[in-house]
Amino acid sequence: MTAPGSPAPAPHLHAGTTTRGLMLSVAACLLPAGTWGVLVLGPRALAVLAVAVGAGLLTELLIAGLAWKSFTLADGSALLTGLLAGFTLPVSVPLFIPAVAAAFAVAVVKMTFGGLGRNWMNPALGGRLFVTFSWPALLAAGALPGPASGGGWVRVPPWQPDGSLLGGSGTLGAVSTLLLVLGSVYLLARRIVAWEIPLTFAAGYALTVWALAGLPAGGGLFRGDVPAALASGGFALAAFYMATDPVTSPQGRAGRLAFGAGCGLLSFLLRAYGGRPEGPFLAVALMNMFVPLLNRLGSPMAGKG
């Protein structure tokens, strides 16, 4: 951050990336999965998404305007936060839930700590967890409309038991893991997100699931159902869109690898033993706390401070 007019040291190169560009790219990559999800789940999904995005934008507008006398809507961060929060919520919830989730995400998780770039937890994640623990009954409500129960404009015959590749149910993010991952391929190719985190996140999660997930059910070692675990939309959202938030993930390669592995391991523990479908979200939130520590990992100054 240099003051306006102050000379920056050469070379004066610029990669052309802006905050706004990054945020809008990520939002655009969520669009295929979101559009497909709305088509499958119906108007209710659109309402949840619209309320979440609207509340996120409104909160950002109000707080930045009132407290800082500035306009920060244009950086696209609140839009992305609202989108992500909407993606993670069951479409059957009352509409005040997405509003509270997005408002909490922007106001408490991001703005309280000083705004974009200073938050230590991914805002959408924080908002999602706040509503999870505040209204557990509403979020756990089993009445999740899916392709089987209709409600959408498109019907998908599920060819997977849980149908999660294209015809999942429950939350927008869970409808199509396939489209979520496709969207993130662009982000990875453009190096908008760091590849190390999803890689070790998936690897750590798959390995622990494969080795240990059979145990709680009494199936013995190395009997875990890896495809089902990796096909879950919650995992895909957490691994590709939330853990990779540049603000709340480590800087160095070693730190990123360790961060992803920790997320994977914790996701398994929280899902298998915590009994929470939000396992991956909780895992990322917990690992967010270790980022300052992981930033020291592999840096030449490590151990010398």
Partner: protein, 204 residues
């Protein structure tokens, strides 16, 4: 001297500004009535410890100051605990272990070694600290109970059963605020508000 009182009540509020004596406070601030009761007990213990401990300290060498404070504080807190358990068992049950725990509260022990001052000054300081603790705790409990449970619990009086249910909130409250993380979250915001509104803040 009355400046001391208002100073500890607002500018140097031990609870909201210095975050002292939190352990019982965070635990019981789920109901407004608990906060008022714990605040009153704290006020009583602070006043008694300040006066008795301060008077005893005149005759004792410094190394005895802290143990004597501790003894006086625990005697007063235990008396308070027994008194409530007899005359208000329901309210006493709401406070649980956190009332006896006041005996080792840092607010009480923090006054050790400050004896030997005029009686009025000691009493006023204790009153100010106790009032400050009560005000901070009450605000915290009000916020947490209102949002976390959708109710406001006061003492039962006559036909009034002591619980006000806030329409709209009582049905689906944000339970996280009634849980442990909510206590820290709400306290953080109250503390920030207290610091922001604090007289003599830099730049205001």
């Amino acid at each position: 001297m009355s400046g001391d009182f208002s100073r500890s009540l607002w500018r140097d509020n031990p609870f909201l500004i210095y975050l002292v004596g939190l352990c019982p406070a965070l635990a019981v601030s789920t109901r407004l009535v608990n906060a008022l009761l714990l605040g009153a007990a704290m006020l009583f213990a602070l006043l008694g410890t300040g006066i008795v401990g301060g008077a005893l300290e005149r005759f004792l060498p410094p190394r005895w100051h802290l143990p004597v404070r501790l003894l006086v504080a625990s005697a007063l807190v235990t008396a308070c605990d027994r008194f409530l358990s007899v005359f208000a068992p329901a309210l006493h049950a709401g406070l649980g272990i956190y009332l006896p725990l006041l005996a080792v509260n840092c607010l009480l022990l923090g006054s050790a070694g400050r004896g030997g001052r005029p009686f009025g000054e000691t009493a006023l300081e204790a009153l100010g600290m106790g009032a400050a603790f009560t005000v901070g705790l009450t605000l915290l409990a009000l916020l947490r109970e209102l949002l976390g449970a959708g109710t406001i619990t006061l003492f039962p009086m006559g036909s009034f059963r002591g619980v006000l249910r806030i329409p709209g909130l009582a049905g689906q409250p944000a339970r996280l605020l009634a849980a442990a993380p909510g206590a820290l979250l709400a306290l953080g915001y109250l503390s920030a508000l207290g610091r922001w509104a604090r007289p003599g803040r830099k730049g205001s």
